[in-house]
Amino acid sequence: MTIAVEFTHVSRHYGNIKAVDDVTISVAEGEFFSMLGPSGSGKTTCLRLIAGFEQPTSGSIKIFGFDATNAPPYEREVNTVFQDYALFPHMNVLDNVAYGLIVKGVAKNECISRAERALEQVALADYGKRKPGELSGGQRQRVALARALVNKPRVLLLDEPLGALDLKLREQMQQELKTLHKQLGITFIYVTHDQSEALSMSDRVAVFNNGRIEQVDSPRNLYMRPKTSFVADFVGTSNIISGDLAQQITGSNQSFSIRPEHISIDSEQENTMKVTGQVVDIQYHGANSKIEVKVGKQALSMVLSNTEHTEAQLPKIGQSLVLYWPQSHMVMLEN
């Protein structure tokens, strides 16, 4: 397995602010690798470190074995799709796409034909003569993608590329990116704050918090086996139970998380854990209903399927309710 991008103890500080704090990761060639985290968690700074727009305060960065720690962006075999596309407003779409080839001194005819092919690839073949300002958000996004891909980068960096699109278009583009990744076989490094996007598209996800990596894992493991309470909370929804309540339920004060969908109101055999609380809120969400239950000082949430329960069968606000869950679905968290 070839390593595409390798961070060794990389930090990026701005004065006292540690935007990236001692991050060590390696991304394999051909991998779809996502960097997930809330805004200000350091994921975008990491991407900019790979692209070369920032230099690390300490640590080293290798791209396919080449020490890129202090190399300028134009010496790296990576290309970026920017969050707001960063298309050149004074050039038409074709010139935008051909730009990377032109500045590298590729023959003019070849630049044009390769740019045209790249535009075909993103289904914008007839838009070459237009200016970026005349395109819709989704079209600009495709141009930005074509402009990066025409250079045949070994690593494609995507900085929240779908952030500005509406939901339908975003889902469609997610699908297209996934297909494109399979076709091209190159490494994708994808920055997003949308956990469902990261889970559905990636081979592996790195979860960032406060400039540090909390966990790097496959989407399934991140969801099923979160290591920290941050990951449990940020990836999907979790009930994180700690302190006295944990003591009361498990007999130990180690925190644990339990997903709302794993909590049940039936006392089946495998449901060995239980706790009693009071219903404080019921929200209707179409396919299911979300129930908020107050246990001691903490509120736990659970979901009940609306196909399996009629309205009359749902608990009522103020009612006392016993919650059950299997021990196997509890995830013990590092404190």
């Binding site: 692209a51 070369g52 962006p73 134009y74 990576v78 707001d84 407003p89 004074h90 990377g100 500045v103």
Partner: protein, 309 residues
């Protein structure tokens, strides 16, 4: 809901203005349009009209017989000299202002911290708060043989170099203060802020990520400058150069105070309408800068100055 305006007449008026947007615009725009149309354009057309009047050399009187003679006189070799001299200076000053102004504006925009930016703004604008005649007089002192420039050159042991520079034809002269070079320096100094500010405003509008995208796609800094930054800032350079170019073309103070004798368009107009009273020829001379600036704008448009707007 209770209306804020209790007077019913006032309320009717205010609501009418709100509903009839055109009426509101009409009321808003009439005073400035009157000012612009009557006072500004009116006086300009009056001036142009006078350029067709006849000036009698013997009686020194102006009659309103229409003639093209004043425009013919513009092409006399002495007058053509004046026009060429002024035009050359205006082009040189514009190029120098752009070359000096761009790096300053670039630094202000890309590298300056908030404090530094404030400092630069004040440093650029401060000279504009002083009367420009005072500044020009100050320069006569700076450039004179007893002035600070000569003093610096002397202490650097470069007096010889300065002397041989002043020996050069066209730009040279007896002293810096009486040379075209000195005049050029003062012009450049006086009009520089008018170049820096539009360039700075244009640079400010170029998002940093365009430059990063260019580098990301493999462009070296020189390529990024040539293909991305400069084309996007070019309208700002043109805006600044329109100021420096037209201000130099029309100026009549600096050529009188600094540099060798020999008239400029501005000083020619000043002489014609003041001491000689030949208003028609003065008016014809003022048409020259107007035409030159139109030509300049046409050239700038062909060079694509307004494509990125």
């Amino acid at each position: 809901m209770q209306s804020v305006i209790s007077n019913p007449a006032l309320r009717l008026f205010s609501n009418t203005l709100y509903r009839k947007n055109n009426l509101f615009l009409f009321l808003l725009l009439t005073p400035p349009l009157l000012w612009f149309g009557v006072v500004y354009l009116g006086s300009l057309f009056a001036l142009l009209w006078q350029s067709f009047y006849t000036f009698d050399d013997f009686s020194m009187a102006v009659t309103n017989d229409l003639t093209l003679a004043n425009y013919r006189v513009l092409f006399d070799s002495t007058n053509l000299d004046i026009i060429l001299r002024t035009l050359t200076m205006a082009v040189a000053v514009t190029v120098a202002c752009a070359c000096i102004g761009f790096p300053i504006a670039y630094y202000m925009t890309r590298y300056g911290s908030v404090r530094e930016k404030g400092f630069f703004y004040i440093a650029v604008m401060l000279p504009m708060w002083a009367s420009y005649i005072v500044k020009t007089y100050a320069w006569t002192v700076i450039l004179s043989q007893e002035g600070i420039l000569y003093f610096i050159f002397k202490n650097l042991g470069l007096t010889g170099a300065l002397e041989s520079l002043l020996q050069l034809p066209i730009i040279g002269g007896n002293t810096l203060a009486t040379s075209q070079l000195g005049r050029f320096i003062v012009f450049t100094y006086i009009w520089l802020p008018f170049m820096i500010l539009p360039i700075q405003a244009a640079l400010e509008r170029v998002p940093t990520n365009l430059l990063q995208a260019s580098a990301d796609l493999g462009a070296r800094p020189a390529q990024t400058f040539r293909k991305i930054l400069f084309p996007l800032v070019f309208p700002g350079v043109v805006a600044g150069s329109i100021f420096t170019f037209s201000l130099t073309l029309g100026d009549y103070i600096i050529p009188q105070l600094i540099g060798p004798s020999g008239l400029y368009i501005g000083t020619m107009v000043y002489t014609m309408q003041g001491s000689i009273g030949n208003m028609p020829l003065a008016a014809a001379f003022t048409v020259v800068p107007i035409i030159l600036i139109f030509l300049y704008l046409a050239l700038a448009k062909r060079a694509g100055a307004f494509n990125a707007l």
